[in-house]
């Protein structure tokens, strides 16, 4: 579903991501782990077409992000690390805007919006302006917007930040359910326990270079993910 081949992106002289390759198949949840400034957000933003990269290729469902960015965006959804949404809109207005852009029919959006907002406990606040939302509420709205158009791939940057324990639990369930239905998820996190429990695959990035990737079992072996991560961090320190 997502194939990254030799991705390289520099900011001036600094290589933020260096020759990174990774593949995520339909039905897989892949956790992307790395220290602050390792290159996670740069990789994620390149995948969704927000950032232009220097070399390499990214394919979403076989479509090149470089060649056909709009086609890729149509089958993708993205949740950034900080849900800065249109504060001048109400929650429902924002969701309808997203639904219009992704050409979601009236019946489909009606069904999805209420199903998802009921699940995340946001229905009562949909008429409120987003500028009155807490960080967690904005995150929930971003989650609803991402699921709204039934994408094939969801890319998320630190999706659990700001969510209360209940919403976190629901989001994990939604992620698992989404992948059981054939979708794929690529998300970054610093919460290694979450990655360990939720992910089928894990990729660890350090200073822009992918240091290890594979199934959870392959990566951690007999150790915990935390031990593996700290060991890898120490190795190259």
């Amino acid at each position: 579903m997502l194939k990254i081949v030799g991705l390289t992106k520099s900011y001036g002289d600094k290589k933020a991501v260096d020759n990174l390759s990774l593949e995520i198949k339909p039905g897989e949840i892949c956790g992307f782990i790395g220290h602050n400034g390792a290159g996670k957000t740069t990789t994620i933003k390149s995948c969704i077409g927000i950032l232009k990269f220097d070399s390499g290729e990214i394919y979403i469902d076989g479509i090149s992000v470089k060649e056909h960015p709009l086609d890729c965006k149509r089958i993708c959804a993205y949740i950034p690390d900080n849900p800065d949404l249109y504060e001048f809109m109400s929650g429902i207005k924002y969701l309808n805007f997203i639904a219009d852009v992704y050409k979601v029919s009236a019946e489909e959006r009606e069904k999805k919006i209420h199903e998802l907002s009921d699940k995340l406990g946001l229905t009562g606040d949909l008429a409120q302006p987003i500028n009155s939302y807490s960080h967690g509420m904005k995150q929930k709205l971003a989650v609803i917007a991402a699921w709204l158009h039934s994408p094939k791939l969801i890319i998320m940057d630190e999706p659990f930040v700001g969510l209360d324990p209940k919403a976190s639990h629901i989001l994990k369930e939604m992620m698992r359910e989404f992948c059981e239905q054939g979708g794929a998820i690529f998300f970054s996190t610093h919460v290694l326990e979450v990655a360990e429990k939720l992910c089928d695959k894990v990729a660890i990035i350090k200073n822009g270079t992918l240091v290890v990737s594979g199934t959870m079992e392959e990566v951690r072996g007999q150790d915990s993910l935390e031990e593996v991560f700290l060991e890898l961090e120490g190795d190259n320190a």
Binding site: I50, Y78, P80, F97, V101, A106, E110
Partner: protein, 532 residues
Amino acid sequence: MLKTLIGIRIRSMFAGMYMGGKKKNRGKGMAVFVLAFLALAFVAFFFFVYVFADALVVYMHKSELDWLYFALFMLAAFLFMFVGSIFMTKTEIFDAKDNELLLSMPIKPIDIVISRMSVVYIFNVLFESVIMIPAIVAYDDRCGFSVSATLAFIVVFIMLPLLSLSVSSVFGWVIAIVAAKFKNRAITKVMASLVLLVAFYYVYFQLIGNMDVIVTDPGSIINEEFARKYVALYWVGASIAKFDILAFLLVCGISLAAFAVASVLIIRSFIRITTEKSGAKKKEYVRREAKVRGVRKALIGKEMSKYTSSVAYMLNDSLGIAFSLVLAVLAVINRDTLISVIEVLEVDIVNIGEIAALGTMLFLSSMTLISAPSISLEGKNLWIIKSIPVNTKDVLIAKLSLHMIIAAPVAAVSALLFGLAIGNDAVVIITFIIVNVLMTLLVDTIGLMLNLIFPRFDWINENIPIKQGASVNLTMLASMLISVGIAALFGLFSAFLGGIISALLIIILMLALNTAMILIIMKKGVAIFDNL
């Protein structure tokens, strides 16, 4: 700490002029270009005021009305400062996004407020300079300046912006108090601002009610009587012209006292206003069938929502709309007077009335700048438009459309009214309508393109892109120059080619300029946006 805060605000203010997107510094070259353009505009405005001041100073000095000369220019400067900063004050002081961050630090609220007021003060001084400096130069050229008068002028020059700042701060404070109760009702805020502005103009014109005698019948002015009638103005003028110590102390005292009162009012309520939650009731969500829109309509709807939700955006960048309508209506109401003035000015080969009306109309259209901050206003939300499957052309067309939806109907109506005010010639009216609508489109496209070149996404206060951004200022100045140029060309063409051919040539010229701008945006602009 106060010094640091002021430094941050000033750096942020000037960085807005030439910083690019993603905090990319465009370097000294771009800064020099922007500053050179602003300097050019300043010089043009300087000469405009100088010519007027030079004509006035001779007569005023001869009639020993020097105090009135200074008072008149100070009054004009005060109006300019007030109108220039009124809508900025509330956003600058109460709506900055870093208010809560700063309040959480060990910084005294008074330092935060004073640093914010300093920025407004600097703007007031800039506004004051463009009126007062040419007036002073003209006076010095004709009459000379004593040392005491120079010193008095410098002090009054520093004091007067404090008075204007105080009045606009109190206005901002009142609006902020009202806004805190109706947090999500932007229209209420706009109405409150407009009501206060109208009240200000009412008081202002009541004060200067009969001063048109200066122009209509200068010989009837009796110095002492006039000084008694306009005593506040006399203090301002006499403090410089006669170095009247009492008047000087009164002017300084009143300015300082007004500033102190405004500061105390704001400092006392700053924390409450900036941290107060909306007093509005929670809006209940009612399930209803959604209206499905196409992508372009959805994007225009998004732009419209942004526009109607921001008081600063509506008031600062649409002032031209209000002025266009008000002046056009006034022109129709005073049609007879206008026509008689035009008849006096009539030259054989050109119609002065048509040229003046065209120039005024286009000039007013240059003050509507809705598209000019629209890229910067994406701010931290830029990721949304970049991550959804929308064509960049559609995004830019939506931004252009918003400007046209709001400004074009007003441009057409104001052109119709101006056309009717100066005569009933159908050709003139149709030409005015077409040219004014095309001018609106030109300001629209210039604004968008300049904002693509000078975007600013890291603002902490909407005022930065809306009012202080390089794109907004450059668009207004460029458009004003174009409007003057178009009116001059129309005059030139009509002197040699006659009305209909000149009208056609101007329309063709405007069409060509617009086509060029649209092509540039669709090619170069799209590429710039994709790389933001």
